[in-house]
Amino acid sequence: MNRPFLSPGGATHGKAAAELVLEVEGLQTYFYTRAGLVKAVDGVSFSLRRGETLAIVGESGCGKSVTALSLMRLVADPPGRIVGGAVRLDGLDLLGLDAAAMRQVRGKEVSMIFQEPMTSLNPVMTIGRQIREALMLHGAGSRQAAQARALEMLQLVGIPEPAQRLKEYPHQLSGGMRQRAMIAMALACNPKVLIADEPTSALDVTIQAQILELMASLQRKLGTAVILITHDLGVVAETADRVIVMYAGRKVEEAAVDELFAHPLHPYTRGLMRSIPRLALMRRETAPDGRLQEIPGMVPALSNLPAGCTFAPRCGFASDICRREYPRYEEKRAGHRAACWHSDRLTGDGNG
């Protein structure tokens, strides 16, 4: 459990363990459905240092949201179940906790914000009461103390006229303001880890930038570690320290953000980068005819994965071995891991 994440020879074991706030090892979340066994998350491991932002990237259905829900143990059972692995928060095994103890962790130690600010707040309850609720559940003391803290949080997330807003209902706030209120609610108890599941996907672009900037500044102020779930590589480039790319329930690549963008070692990652308009233009990586490139095909049905590399059917580099055997997930460059048989063929023209 003391494996340091990056710089294999660097920090001593004890120090590295103290730095790590969250460790996930071999997490497996399966869904037992009529269509068969769906391995939504299959053996995902990662760790998170204090104050770090880790982005988990992938297409819809790649298992990134289920990973997030698994950390909170909020996967609906049935049909889903965490069947293997370990999630340790400061050494505390979250998967072993009983329901009541887990409730004490949620919101206090690990918080979550969701994609839909429009519907993530209860329409018949004031903003103030919803933030207070989070505080009172985790022993904030009196109602007055919770109210004062709620006011402070609204100020912190930059909502104008916070005292007035506390008394208002969600429909009186715009989408951006609601997401700010959600962030205030999630951070009210000063959690160690904040999981943000597509926090800006439902917002328009200018508001997106504001919210990302807000999250980054709060993170600096409060020292919260953030897991950012997104499909938007632009957001990743702006905010993340480290990136995990997921495909079909597994990790396919992982690196520090600059390293990943400079040298993508998995064809899927490269495909993702090429299919983003802004980034593609900036990097002049568009196809010769100037059109955007897409990744051909679709994510395979998780209940019926192909043998060998799951990405092979969509991959331009795929060879016989790809279709036969799943590639080993290994370190290809310093601090940069990927699961691909042909990473060496990518390094040459990946940054061209």
Binding site: L74, R103, Q104, G107, K108, M112, F114, Q115, N122, L137
Partner: protein
């Protein structure tokens, strides 16, 4: 192109409402029928509350000399065959009707709310069992069900309320359950879980308050039918027992014997029942429109 008077448009939309009086006036202008309904209901409530001050007659005192006295004269609305003042009996009867209506509605809604919430939020075998039970109850019409209940419980005011409340339960439970089924999948329920709230608390503080709007609409409709069923039960001799004045029984006592000789004994209690049910329905419709987000702006 016509010139638009912005101020007039704004006040039509209710933008410059000042104080409670302003809100009332706005309601009256926006929902005139609802206002009439509210007025009728307020009237009945006032009559029930201040019954002693309104009529000098005691509703229970008999007087052989005034037997079947016609309207006008000392008895404004006439007197029944025992010489009891009809107006006084209708006024005191309002107490019974409103008490039964309110009691049965509140009781039925509370029970239905609990059943519907448990059934909808927690689901599983509990939902299945409870819903089949509700199916059985709903297979009988409200009146028949109330009849069975009233007959088995015996006549008294409390028993009448219970007898009418029980058949209301499945209607309320259905509405609450179906709303709960949709609400429990809402992101804010997930968000409440993510801040560490227990399922019971989520059901009570997040799901239940969101089901109240449709419940209020349903409750006003149930209120009217509860009063109607009470009258029907009394008409059939199963309601609130003698000598308490009940509109339904006043009708039934007189209908057979006196409808030709003393029609006022049938007409006035009938008008009272119709008016109160009409009032609740008008008010209920207005409340439904008010709570409908598609009509609110």
């Amino acid at each position: 192109m016509a010139v638009i008077d912005h101020d007039a448009e704004l006040s039509r939309a209710g933008a410059n409402i000042r104080g409670p009086l302003g809100s009332i006036l706005f309601f009256v202008r926006r929902y005139p029928l609802g206002a009439i309904g509210a007025l009728i209901m307020l009237g009945f409530v006032a009559v029930a509350l201040f019954a002693d001050a309104i009529t000098a007659f005691d509703p229970l005192t008999t007087n052989a000399r005034d037997s079947l006295a016609p309207p006008g004269g000392a008895h404004t609305l006439g007197a029944d065959f025992m010489g009891r003042d009809l107006l006084a009996r209708i006024i005191y009867g309002a107490r019974i009707s409103l008490a039964v209506g309110l009691g049965a509605t509140v009781l039925g809604c509370l029970a239905g709310m609990i059943v519907g919430l448990l059934s909808g939020y927690f689901g599983g075998w509990l939902d299945l069992t409870v819903q089949r039970l509700m199916d059985i109850m709903q297979s009988l019409p409200l009146l028949v069900m109330a009849l069975v209940m009233a007959a088995s419980l015996g006549p008294s005011l409390t028993n009448t309320i219970v007898a009418i409340a029980i058949p209301l339960v499945p209607n309320v439970a259905r509405v609450i359950r179906s709303n709960t089924l949709a609400l429990r999948e809402m992101p804010f329920v997930e968000a409440a879980r993510a801040i560490g709230m227990s399922e019971t608390r989520i059901a009570l503080t997040h799901v239940l308050p969101n089901t109240l709007a449709p419940l209020i609409v349903l409750a006003t409709a149930q209120f009217g039918s509860a009063i109607l069923v009470e009258s029907a039960l009394a008409f059939l001799g199963l309601g609130v027992p003698e000598p308490h004045p009940s509109w339904g029984r006043m009708l039934s006592e007189s209908a057979a014997e006196y409808v030709r000789t003393a029609p006022w004994l049938v007409i006035f209690p009938g008008v009272a029942i119709s008016a109160v049910v009409f009032g609740t329905n008008l008010l209920g419709d207005a409340i439904r429109d008010m709570l409908d987000p598609r009509q609110r702006f």
